[in-house]
Amino acid sequence: MSAEQSAVLEAPGTSAVGGRTTALGWPAINRAELFKLAGLALQLAVVVYLLIAFRIENTAFYYRVAPIVGVGFVVNHLLPLRYRLPFFAALSLLTLFVVFGLVQSAWLVALGLVLIGIAHLPVRFGLRVALLLGVGTAFAAMRLGIGPDMPWRSAIWPILGSMFMFRLIAYVYDLRHQKDKPTVARTLAYFFGLPNVSFLLYPVIDYATFKRTYYDREPFTIYRQGINWMVRGLTHLMVYRMIYQYGTMLPTDVQNGTDFTRYVLANFGLYLRVSGQFHLIVGILHLFGFRLPETHHFFYVASSFTEFWRRINIYWKDFMTKVIYMPAYFKLKKRGDAFALVTSTILVFFATWFFHSYQWFWLLGTWLLSWTDTLFWAILAVLLSFNVLREYRQGRKRTTKSTEWTSAERTRLVINTVITFTVICLLWTLWTMPTLRDFAALLTTPRWRAQDLALLVGVLGVVAVSAWIAQRRDTAAAKGKDVARTTLPSLAILGVVWLLGEPYVRQFYNSDVNAFWRSTRIQELSALERSQLQRGYYERIVDLNRFNGGLWDIYSRRPKEWLRLDQTDIQEKVPDARLFVMKPNHTTNLNGDMITTNRWGMRDQEYEPTKGPNVTRVALLGASYVMGIGVKSGDFFEPILENRLAADTTGHGSRKIEILNYAVSAYLLQHQLALMETGELQKVGTDVVLIIGHLTDANRGASYLYRLEANGLKTPYDTMRTLMRVAGWNAPPDEPEARRTMRNFEGEMSRVTFLRMGELCRQNRWRCVYAYIPMPFERLNPDLQVELLGYAKAGGLETIDMGDVYDPYDERKLIITEWDYHPNLRGHQILAERLQRELLTKPGLLTHHADSAASAAATSEEKRR
């Protein structure tokens, strides 16, 4: 314990007033202090309530960790100082057990203790580092699922990684250089710190700082700062939520300057999630006496690239300075300052680039290496190197009590800030792009109109004003003014947001306003990321490359062994426009469910090759959820519906209804057409074709065409070829380029597909129905949905609109897991029940007989002749 910490312990206002204690050594607390504690506890209770009400981040945090923090804060303060650190360590472990369960937590702690134990082995430093690297490599292999089965779940790896991947480096570094040995309680508190269990992205807290700042000031000052930062974090997360839900868009949807500005700003704005989480985490740690430094400081209004680096993720900058920059500089300084500074700076960015992928590996189980990522860090390294050299030679203006800023200096600062903001925004956009080609397309595609330029100027004007305000606040802070008293106004604003989002108040809104205020209360994937998640069912590559947004978080909890159907052996390629089918008479295990196909390659029971008398055969066409991905055989809507129709003969009397499930995972509308063209449906005596469609029918035509060509095939339809020619299709090199080329023609592609389907239906005397049935959480733009159903009707298909099928239900209870939105058994039951009702609204559908219709038509034709 430092002299300063001892002084605080002895000082009035630290629980032990004037050093008085009770007979048991318990601190005597006076009334004034109790009032202070009660006031802060009340503020904290409001913050905890808001965290729960707004469902901040994840259930583990708002239901478990936040209430524990509320109670733990009061208990911690009432304890004598010497018991507080052990109490915090114990509370952290307890929280781990509460959130993660006893057995898994025990394994997690045990693995962590192995690492800590090695760090403390009484052998020379180099050997300890080598041992840690060896064990780390073994853990990495286990993270990848290599080696024997372990008794713990794979879900503990991201948490263990989050706790140890960086902090162990800082800890070992300080073990080597710090004079006093760490205590058990401090080490446990450092690694297993209470908020970490609910936040995988955790600031790289420096161990020496963690130790040095523990109760090194008057406790209530530390606590107040903590609550202030928690409120700031909560505010950042609420702003992030709005940006995430309403600001984000697909790069391929950017068409004009306004879209471009929105895309770029939203992309950069998503970083508020990290900033918000870090403020919450460090705020919580303050409540237990850790007076840690600020994690982010006005980073959106940095006036140079070095300033940006200093202000965004300050802990990372400090970590890099400590373990890379300083050691490198000291090694190189003999070769000249300029060389040493530039080389050390470049090494820092190289390390940051590497560690970013390393972090991605521990949190998500894969390496993240891309050209955009590499280029982002390389450009930043170059820009910073120039800035470093300039600052080294010219210095920079620092703010102290007596510093005065002239108008010219302020103007220069504001202009520099606007330039820095613009460049960083563009760089950030590059960073989050999957490929350089996507970035180039984003820069060159938008048309810039006068109103787009006006918007851009307005945005930069806001940045300029913000820079001016931030500079004034920094100056005021340097002069000793308390500019941090933002808790109560911020809480009041959050309180109004809470009130306006209350279900009682929401009932007075129209549906759009209600949906907006509802979105302030839930943490769910944005429409954009829901569609990305869904793309994950169709593609191997999902544009998930940064810690922006919420999808990465969900993927970090997804077991590594969670597969899509095309990753099993049940699908096989075919040399026709279906591209792939399911193997007949095959069984495979998909995420614990057995998928078995019949002799026709359907996930269905066996049917007689020839249709029996008095039977209506329905060919059911669709994608993954139609074939019941994620649920057991018999537990999805097709067999449930078939059984319901067998039990309830309304609408078809004695006629038997056989539903032949032709659905194949990842089939798009164009695959369905290709299937209808094969003649398979005719062979089995199909009477009715029921095509189950959803979101992808409106926006995936280009992807299909790209894959068709990638398989060496061409579309056989003149109308489709005409569309491709008009759109400028010219052997696109990748799928995003294909989608960009055809983005204004997706509707037309759906329309011509339906037209051809209608022709086939008429030729074969099938009654064809297009049923729009979304997956849970899947929302199609209402206009687009009407358009899609209109195309189906125009093609001559009957339609069923089940777009509202989940409205009466809580969709979270209808999905398999948070990382897979396929309907679960309950979801399928709802679909079966509703679809049965919908089918009965089509007179004669269930008794339709294609052969009879054909012979009737032939008779009528004969009569006519």
Binding site: Y173, P293, Y325, D337, E391, Y392, T399, T400, K401, S402
Partner: protein, 82 residues
């Protein structure tokens, strides 16, 4: 104020805070944690100390633990025998 403290203070004021009042910085003013010394300024200060007092400063000492106040800086220099 002792000689080392005075020299260091003058250097900091002159090099990093030109135009600031001498009263803005005292022996316990947080330099690194207070934002006056960033990593660049820290290496400059280290170069100055090594040159001025003929001492060798280790990389891990170029940190907030050793250089955050003028008192700490002077203690470090003295501990190295200057």
């Amino acid at each position: 104020m002792n000689a080392i403290e005075g020299t260091v203070k003058s250097y900091i004021l002159e090099e990093f805070l030109p135009g600031a009042n001498a009263s803005d910085v005292n022996e316990s003013t947080p330099l690194i944690s207070g934002g006056i010394l960033d990593s660049l300024a820290t290496v400059k200060l280290v170069a100055f100390l090594e040159e001025q007092y003929k001492v060798t400063i280790e990389p891990h000492e170029a940190s907030v633990d050793y250089l955050d106040t003028i008192t700490q800086i002077a203690d470090l220099v003295r501990a190295k025998g200057a």
